[in-house]
Symmetry: C2
């Protein structure tokens, strides 16, 4: 799965005339292998831990590359109720369950069909993407609350 995404990313960047630099490769590799919605700072720390020989990276380099990778649809930006920008290497259609107690963000594939064609016609708005964030209490925090 992650290898297929890396292959696709290389092709997408190549077609756009953009080099797959070592920095872009390591950012994507980490995001595609660890689906944990990191902030830029968390991503930086993860890369330092997961790729110990790799030193050509700073949070600024990550910020700058994120703009490019996002523009080409290779990562997604997400904004949970905490107001902190996070990144998602899961570019398939999915939603997020966000726990208001532990702040954990979980990918959710439960189908949530929306009448997008009808909404487009009614609002005159050309829809590219729909972001759905479901906020509440995760199973683990629910259990903790009931046992305390």
């Amino acid at each position: 799965m992650a290898d297929r995404l890396m292959q696709k990313a290389t092709e997408v960047l190549q077609q756009a005339g953009i080099r797959m630099t070592p920095q872009r490769r390591v950012i994507l590799h980490n995001l595609y292998h660890n689906r944990n919605h990191p902030t830029v700072e968390e991503l930086f720390r993860q890369i330092c831990d997961n790729y110990p020989g790799f030193h050509s990276l700073s949070t600024t380099t990550i910020y700058n590359n994120m703009r490019i990778l996002k523009k080409h649809g290779l990562v997604k930006e997400i904004y949970s109720h905490t107001g902190i920008t996070r990144y998602d290497g899961n570019i398939d259609t999915h939603h997020h369950l966000v726990c208001k107690i532990c702040d954990k963000i979980t990918d959710c594939y439960y189908p949530l069909p929306l009448p997008i064609a009808e909404l487009q016609a009614a609002e005159g708005f050309a829809v590219d993407d729909v972001y759905i964030e479901i906020r509440g209490i995760c199973p683990s925090c629910k259990e903790n609350a009931s046992t305390n």
Copy 2:
């Protein structure tokens, strides 16, 4: 509508034992009368313009009050694709159309029914709130693009 919301806000705060200070009153009054999704800085400038005699306010006061007003369901925080936290005085169920060209956020009441009970059962997640952001191109930017 705005007057009804002000009345409700006074009651909610009173029940929670929280004073409706002049600062809270002016923040809510501005948000309920101008449904334009401001950032804290924009809200500060709007209040300076709309309530010229009112000087007992700073962006820090607004930040601090927003936490309280949000906690009691009197305003909503929103996070569009720009990654900037904005506030919404419209606390009724609605969605946001966000234009990726002009960044404008428009309230949308087109019904988007979701199978929340089924999702709750399937994921074991207790749902409080669902945030839906529809991203794309607004009618005005679509028209500009077609005439250029």
